[in-house]
Symmetry: D2
């Protein structure tokens, strides 16, 4: 299983005067999704940063299908999309947890950089983490 | 001239613990960009909503080239990308206002909907606004 | 028991370049705290709004004791502070869920208003909700 | 003159489903207010941080008088409130720039700390900045 699911509730803060969730906030849920993905994989993102590997976003995309509203329970599904020497891709699906309606889909791409923002080859910089991700992606192919 | 430029300063609030602007915040600047684009075109977005035309985002994309930092002055350049019966596209460029470095580029696509969230044909629903946008796009082609 | 506890995890989004949570974000956790307090009391805040009772904040205060950091699990404890004809007070405590350190305390005061923003006397406008809150406060005194 | 005024426009992002600005966002304007106050005083806050003096908020308060709405132009007035060995106080007023209605007032208190979060005596740590603030406060008394 190379995906991870978590539940988040829409806060009043997330809404705007259209009565729905403001579009930029979906990217925050994507962050929560990949953060929990890392945790489930056994490698909390904070440990990566403590080891001076950072994963800044270099590309982000979201397609909005149906609006999320205040107090809705959302299910965020996060999958690894690809792994390359210096970058990593995730894809996301946000559905209404109770109605199962698809609300949004998206992707983010992340570079591997050191604390000075310079690109690093993850395979060399942290072979353990590299292998964890590699294996996750392999699992999918094996299914 | 079918584009509009405005300046925004990076707030402490916009930064994250990586010491740079959090990725979702660029979409807020895109909002500021198109809001000022509407104003410069002579049609404030708030009047559109008062006339019960709403432009929810149905697609959003951002590519991050170089990080924005606290207190940076940013120039947001907004252009009309396309106009169709029921949707509208913008593109954005964010540069460091003093160093002229390109920081990010992006696009958003917006549906025309009524207060119940149903799609409306802008040409019929508000011919004046339709023509304003049409003319803006034509200007570009005429250059 | 007239209080309610919930757990929230600090997101990357919540941090700023000082490496800790940005001060305004504690007020978002206060919102989550009172939202869950209403739910636990049997009166979701969204139903109040559907019944055209709104509780805008008229006063907010936070004292910061120790910084919350990325990925920390926080416990938000929310209590009813007071109930008056046209307003309601909450108090909050945010502690580190694992270390039990006190991070912040705060209060908010809310007016009861209708959809036009005019004050309403809750006791008349929604006696059921009034009684729910009254009883909650009484519980405390009885202990 | 020991105060500073700046103008900010309400973004769509700032609103919530009540159709007004979400309460926590006023604290972001307070930040913008004090950031510009430092700049006007000749000591940008970013230089303070480069000199390893940080001013985390230890107390924050806001009283909401009248709601700010989308696209409103707001005037943020920031004043020094007090200066002590290890802390500093600001007060703020937010008014509707065109209608001159008072929307909110507030205060924040800041500690002087080093990069490890330890309190520092500003008078010793940075006598130049200490004097700048001292003089600002004196100006007021001299009026």
């Amino acid at each position: 299983m190379n995906y991870n699911e978590i539940i988040q509730r829409v806060r009043y803060k997330d809404t705007d005067q259209m009565g729905v969730v403001y579009y930029a906030n979906y990217f925050i849920w994507f962050e929560v999704g990949r953060s929990e993905f890392f945790r489930a994989m056994g490698m909390d993102y904070k440990y990566l940063e403590q080891n001076e590997i950072f994963l800044p976003v270099i590309e982000a995309y979201c397609q909005y299908k149906s609006p999320a509203r205040y107090d809705d329970l959302l299910k965020i599904t996060t999958k690894l999309n690809f792994l390359q020497e210096v970058k990593l891709g995730f894809q996301y699906e946000i559905t209404h947890a109770e109605k199962a309606t698809l609300l949004a889909t998206g992707q983010t791409t992340h570079a591997f950089v050191n604390k000075d923002g310079k690109p690093v080859a993850l395979r060399k910089r942290n072979p353990f983490f590299w292998k964890l991700i590699k294996d996750k992606i392999q699992e999918e192919k094996d299914v």
